[in-house]
Subunit: 666 residues, 2 copies
Amino acid sequence: MMDYNLAWLSYRNIPWYEDRKFFQTIVTREKHVVIKTAVAELCRAAEEMFGMQPEITDRQERKDNFGKNRICLVMDAGISVAGGYRIEEYGGQISIFSGDASGILYGAYALVRRVQRELPLTGLKLQELPDMPLRMLNHWDNMDGSIERGYAGSSFFFKEGEILLNDRTRDYIRLAASVGINGVVINNVNVSGDATRLITDEYELSLKRMAAELEAYGITLYLSLNFAAPIELGDLDTADPEAEEVQSWWKEKMARLFQRIPNLGGFLVKADSEGRPGPFTYGRTHAQGANMLADMIKPYGGLIIWRCFVYNCTQDWRDKKTDRARSAYDNFMPLDGQFAENVILQIKNGPMDFQVREPVSPLFGSLEKTNQILEVQIAQEYTGQQKHVCYLIPMFKEILDFHTYCRKTKDKVSDIVSGRTFLQTECGMAAVANTGSDRNWTGHDLAAANWFGFGRLAFSASLTAEEIAEEWCECTFGPDRETTAAVTRILMMSWPAYEKYTSVLGIGWMVNPGNHYGPNVDGYEYDRWGTYHRADHRGIGVERGRAGTGYTSTYLEPNAAMYENIASCPEELLLFFHYIPYDYKMKSGKTLIQHIYDTHFEGVEDVEKMIGIWEGIRGKIPEEIFRRVKERLNHQREHAEEWRDQVNTYFYRKSFIADEKGRKIY
Amino acid sequence: MMDYNLAWLSYRNIPWYEDRKFFQTIVTREKHVVIKTAVAELCRAAEEMFGMQPEITDRQERKDNFGKNRICLVMDAGISVAGGYRIEEYGGQISIFSGDASGILYGAYALVRRVQRELPLTGLKLQELPDMPLRMLNHWDNMDGSIERGYAGSSFFFKEGEILLNDRTRDYIRLAASVGINGVVINNVNVSGDATRLITDEYELSLKRMAAELEAYGITLYLSLNFAAPIELGDLDTADPEAEEVQSWWKEKMARLFQRIPNLGGFLVKADSEGRPGPFTYGRTHAQGANMLADMIKPYGGLIIWRCFVYNCTQDWRDKKTDRARSAYDNFMPLDGQFAENVILQIKNGPMDFQVREPVSPLFGSLEKTNQILEVQIAQEYTGQQKHVCYLIPMFKEILDFHTYCRKTKDKVSDIVSGRTFLQTECGMAAVANTGSDRNWTGHDLAAANWFGFGRLAFSASLTAEEIAEEWCECTFGPDRETTAAVTRILMMSWPAYEKYTSVLGIGWMVNPGNHYGPNVDGYEYDRWGTYHRADHRGIGVERGRAGTGYTSTYLEPNAAMYENIASCPEELLLFFHYIPYDYKMKSGKTLIQHIYDTHFEGVEDVEKMIGIWEGIRGKIPEEIFRRVKERLNHQREHAEEWRDQVNTYFYRKSFIADEKGRKIY
């Protein structure tokens, strides 16, 4: 008995759909396992949507119905971008062309999406070439079944120290593959306990089976690695990457692993970060640490994905010179060019940690000789923890569209992480996943749009956030125009609303320490994490200009000057870059403090609007989902009010400047 | 191998002590088990201090050495207060008289204390009659071995669901008895899981043995009770105290328990508090709930000790009318006179929760027809968690000396809880214990003074805090005058110092939520616990006068008027009772804000002084203890600086009023 739904792959029965006729026959001569998967997925869709069992054949021509009402899967070396595909309908035959098997699978899913949306197939011409070579999900799942920053139940990868592989895992793989994901890291970046032993014989068989299941869907398996494994597992007394015994320990371990587990792609490493061990312990650089591991797995085509989330997490709040925002840049810029070619740096989108608004990491555009992955977080750690609706694709779009001005024609973040700017191949995007064992996979039903959307965006970065939202919505709920409009409107309102009623103009944080949920304006203000707002009676903000921490100068010009100058600094990031008095006049003509009050009132009103919109589509979507979302929206309203009141009261108490509109501030 | 010391019962070898001669013979005709304990304790002291083995005899007269050099333990009905004793030396014979066996034991310990302090016994005349009939320790120990709010290691009563009874337990009992404790509750007031089953057959044998060990030292065993036990254990679907099946369930359970466990004194109950079940659930009053249980155990002389810690813990910070300080009063005053005679209300010293400074609970003096226990906390939950030295006896003295003005001649809190005011017998003091499995029992070596001191104070409320400190110090470290002066000075400085560098003028809280350690000025400000300071740009404090929550009127006159009027309100409680502007002139002539700054700087200076004093006695006390304390003092200094800086910065940022002395405020 399946205790979960299939999200956007929950096919509705639509026997009236005219173009179902193409599904009578599926033709392919290819034997690749992934193409078999594509065939199986097309059959499943035909069965569930039209009750049809397609005939499967390898004969291009048939007497009775020459070239009609069929779908042909055809390898075509002309499509040279891995995973790219072209779909064409001509003369009653749909052909899916690709240069590789994965592309055929992606084409099949794309075709099914059109059917789900009841769009015509006749006359179809569609080509998509993936923007990002690597499109990864990072699961922060622990082997005891818990998930770090997980908001949708427990892990479906692990339970009580064991690896799970069952229908749920397989359906996860289908969902991931259907939106173009081609790599997953199944265990938490914080590796300890049982997870350290994932690279030992103990888990070999389970990992091998997991890797095979993934492979059938064109997805490569990655693991997170414990840099101190030679000590913890190997009885060595060091993990120094330059020590010979350490190197030979890794060499042997890796040889065995890659030989036993085909389809192992490599490792994600969080080193020297938040208490994790790393090369610093031994006076080595990150390049030395990463390259040593990379060397060991190069013979097997393996990759080392090295996280740049390195900062001093024992800062003194009294110290106004040390700036956490600078850390990734200061740690990694000097190493540009020193990393092996099978090392990738995985860089968080912003310099802090997945806040609702951050500037783009200054490493993008500055790092020229290093493979890069852009790391985003669809697990809504700081964006409402999947209790609030917060559609993050618009944020990711802004990040991808950011001009780094790195003196190349293709200078946007999307160009860099696609490999276009510096002509790299080991690049892409990774998202910290938002999934778990909840019935609906993501806790909040609308949070599935972030999972779907992340995959779609990494594949086709030129899609707009609205297009993705509509696509997700129609695949999930069917192509009812009113439903699509309503849900898309809620999604598109949600990130700006969340930003309005929570944190102010890029300052971030202001959350309860530890769980990171709910308002606590001073929660991190006197703490050791480098996350301050510096609010006092006169104003608020962190001075990161030349007069302050100098962080602005880590950007290339003209960005550096734009951020340095208060007048040109984008207002949504004003307090991230500068300390600003409450009576500062914003471009709207409002004072800063009035802007704070207004946005917080507006944010709550936006949630009320979202609730109204949602209520308007009752009856148009399954009642179970309607109610579940409604319940969360009600919580969101209440919680947004708490945010509004705490933040407004905090600033009123500090500034003693009254709300011009005389609204209730407690 | 003993992995702990014996605190103030660690006898030093003092063969030079002249009056050791009295220990040649111990004479008694009494067979009571507690008197046997007294004899054994005197022998152990003689052995360890002088290497003597006293002769034990029941013959009052001996030929060879008529009436000389001996200690006689004599029952004397003339001493009518239970536990009271008189010690007299006459003609070379020391006699310890008491009306009961426990009194003899207390006398023996008192005699030993004099020996430890090397005071002469010749000519000794000493009488002590206990002030409080009940002198209890409440252990918040869980059956998994953890201790709620425990700061000295794990439990020595429980481990992995089992009851421990070993040398350590026995030494704990000796330490407790030596300072006059006559009742202990061994399990946490929050009763769940295994602890609910403590009243079942499962633990009968262990509890029986534990009770017997305690009984030998004159201590009665109490347990904490789960009000919902009939549901959790008895398969009933209600715990309604008026339901017949509930009553008969309890009746049977209690009959069995009291028959099987002699020396079971009764139960401590936390009901309808912080999520615990209670009579409110069934629309019954606390009196109905308590009386039902009391009825069931009355045949066995059992007591129900019912905690008054009942308040709304889901308050809205925006609500300025609801006042947690009023809750115990509002909940229990209307019930005065309704409680059975074997019910005791256990009332926390203040209306909030063991803050460094609170007014005395207004229930004292107002409740006239109800047995009362004063509950204090020597577990330093809010007073430095046994990492900071904070000697609490001066605070308890202030509480006991508080005049309630209840229109009786003996109107102090000490009179009420001793039973003198309202002529009650089931009264006394209880302390939440500060012990655990640490080598030194209390984490901080100097925290043992609170355990010792609590017992001594409950026994003899007229002792001064200095006297108790000196007595503890000399028993622990020997009678070196310089050591005693130094340690006593540190102890006497410690509570005022802690108050200075932490919370301000009675406002309390300002700690990190959850663990309650370390500064967090707004930590509880926007929370649900009813614990606010209401600081804004102009001032700080909770208005609890008639214009505010009306809490002042819960006191009897003239206290009510004293608190109501800002001019007469004791300054140390000013912000507890009133909202006061920062520029308010204190009696010292300083403004309120300057007072805040000054006390926070002073508090840190006091810690530095304490460190200096401690360093002055290096070599005079065991090096292990010296170092352990020194380490904690160093942490205390650093932590006090953190308190100082966070609090001062917070108020500077809010008020923008500079420190007059121009000191560094971050």
